[in-house]
Amino acid sequence: MIAVENIHKSFNGAEVLKGVSLTVPEGSVTALIGPSGSGKSTLLRCVNLLETPQSGRVRIDGAVVDFEPGRKVDRADVLALRRKTGMVFQNFQLFPHLTALENVMEGLLTVLKWSRQDARQRATELLDKVGMSAKADAWPANLSGGQQQRVAIARALAPSPKVLLCDEPTSALDPQLAAEVVEVLAQLAREGTTMLMATHDLRLASTIASNVLFLDGGNIVESGPSAQVFGSPVDPRTKRFVSSLASVSIGQG
């Protein structure tokens, strides 16, 4: 289980997260939605500590890190927590100097010290799972955006993280390429992968997420099962946002 408790984060005095708490039950998918600047990405990046919260607590499967103003966190604790997570970025961020297969192998080789043979085998299986085995030896520069993102998903899954964090995984893709990525993520969700994703993609959120959190101005404004939040939102801000998402999605066809 992933639990984030009372996270505060500000950048240069501007408070981006104002005491956010959430839990993601194992095997479920939670979508973070909300307007740009609402703190979705920051919240996600506080879970794997790419951003360090000023205060609060992050707990994943037994690893706990507490944050207090003015106290340095132990680097080993950060690493231990981070190694229970995998992350998918908006702009893929594949390693351009490695092939698709090597990208997936990298964490297994460098971090987990697997043998090349074992790493290659697991990476091959994962590329197969995301439908990219035919491109195993391709350089990222020669892959489409959707293909790059699918390799990136395999890379994130390679060390068997407890939770997959997805930061706008489809926003840099046109609808057709986004569809292949949604399909892969939906498959993972069916298999019980725990996921927390920030997204603007209504199709992604409504088809995959079991729970939805609506974030606005650094607070969680509304939360609940996705059918409820999308179907009959209560808070007027959520209502307005959901209807704007729907019109965008229809517009995109």
Partner: protein, 226 residues
Amino acid sequence: MSPWLSLMIESLPSLLWACLLFTVPLTLLSFALGLGLGFVAAITRLFAPKPFAMVVRFYVWIIRGTPLLVQLFLIFYGLPSAGIVLDAFPAALIGFTLNVGAYTSEIIRAVLLSVPKGQWEAAYSIGMTWAQALRRTILPQATRIAVPPLSNTFISLVKDTSLAAAITVPELFRAGQRIVATSYEPLILYVEVALIYLVVSSVLSSLQARVEKRFSRYGGYMEAAS
């Protein structure tokens, strides 16, 4: 055979010998050591606490702001007054290493910064430590970008080693000067010396092209962005 041509051929072995014995080792050694120094300086400047970074800035400021020839004179002719006596070759080696270190530290700093921040984050996201991210993710990409500017420094260095003649290192240029002193043919000898430098630099330039080609195998960044 014209007397000029025969003089050129006669003097060639001793010029090549000086090149092989002094110019080449001085270049290779000071480049290798200077690159190491530049790397440490760049990492310090980027990642170390402020006082250390300040020391590096001071070093780069002094070396870049003063002429190489003056630096060499200081080390070889100046330091003995302070009780530090060095042979000509070690003195030149120290001077060139310090020089290469200062210039390459700026190149290395720039190429490290040119790798997108997202690459650090991607490396961290799969659990790498800072050192692993630097070694496995950032350096391979930075190295590729660094090849042209570092080659520039290297080729300049080959020619700059001629300054070591001024502190009595018997390298290629000084060997040429010696032959001029006995043959009284400065035009022909200095043309010959210049040609040898030209050949060496050309060989290095073609090596650079090969290294760049090797690094380009995984596609350009422009392609990656499109």
